[in-house]
Symmetry: C2
Amino acid sequence: MEIKIMKNILDRNQNKADEVRDILKKNQVLMVNIIGSPGAGKTTLLERSCEELGKKYNIGIIEGDITTDRDAQRLKKYDIPIVVINTEGGCHLDSHSIHKVLGEFNLKKLNILFVENVGNLICPTQFDLGESFKIAILSTTEGDDKPIKYPMLFRDAKAILLNKTDLIPYTNFNIESFQADLRQINPSVPLIQLSCTKKSGIDDWIIWITSHII
Amino acid sequence: MEIKIMKNILDRNQNKADEVRDILKKNQVLMVNIIGSPGAGKTTLLERSCEELGKKYNIGIIEGDITTDRDAQRLKKYDIPIVVINTEGGCHLDSHSIHKVLGEFNLKKLNILFVENVGNLICPTQFDLGESFKIAILSTTEGDDKPIKYPMLFRDAKAILLNKTDLIPYTNFNIESFQADLRQINPSVPLIQLSCTKKSGIDDWIIWITSHII
């Protein structure tokens, strides 16, 4: 019974996702749905992305947060349009909320719209926001067993970003074991290793994401 | 409409939670619902707890995982009863699943039943499993802003465990800022600082949890 209810929500969600996708397509905007655990480094990835991409491209950001606008506050220094969606306890964004806030952006001028989803490795994966694609960000401190334990996201994501590589020496994270597990779930997905705070590997991410701009 | 559906699920859940609570009370078993993000250190906390408490008390463990029995595999060396509940994509445990597996334990002999919930800082908070209480485990690498951003768990938990304190020197985690935020959400909850892999602060946890054994 619980599953059936979920199915209804997902169906309703899908309709609005298609509308969002149409609007973005018409305006040639790439929409990237960023999914990761609390503290995986989603906002820091956006900081680096604003710095590197902001020189050449017009960026917009939708910040999904349960409550507060703390992440948006961290990003306002880049002087780009940011809209916060507070889910008020909700564990993921949905396409209805995205549809509602699209009008806040000048889509004709936008190249990329980043969506920072609520910090959660599970629920956001099940909701199509109308994005061009999802990316997963995982930090090394979360452990090398996450692809096998949370397979949905690692199967669906268009790229996997392994963040906080600078902390590997201080943890028991085993990169070989991580890669072997990941390849079992998703044999061909690009894996980008980086440290957003130490600013290493950022170029690989920028080259990859730039290649997808419409 | 979505909220109404959730309400129905929660009501149904509550009934079974009360039944679970009655069974545990009758058998004088303390049930601890452990909630934290993926990689916060829930399983490593259980490793330390088995080592320190297992000498004197009879422990049982329910392992909540989306898929796989990896966490249970890590714990089987302690030769204690473990039951795995695979949620098959579900983002939290519920009281019906707990009720179903209680019969797998010899409750008359058990002192503590630890429940490792699915790695998620949001959804498990909303589901009463019939536990004696919830505890929250957060790792320093997730960032000091988590209590404010995910207030539900930090408000409800009977104790907050701050794990991976050994990694503070390598991150921008600010303990004063963390504590100030936490106190805003929950002025009086005990805060236990520890490193489960480096085995520091474990005594504080053991003393605290032992004081709650019935």
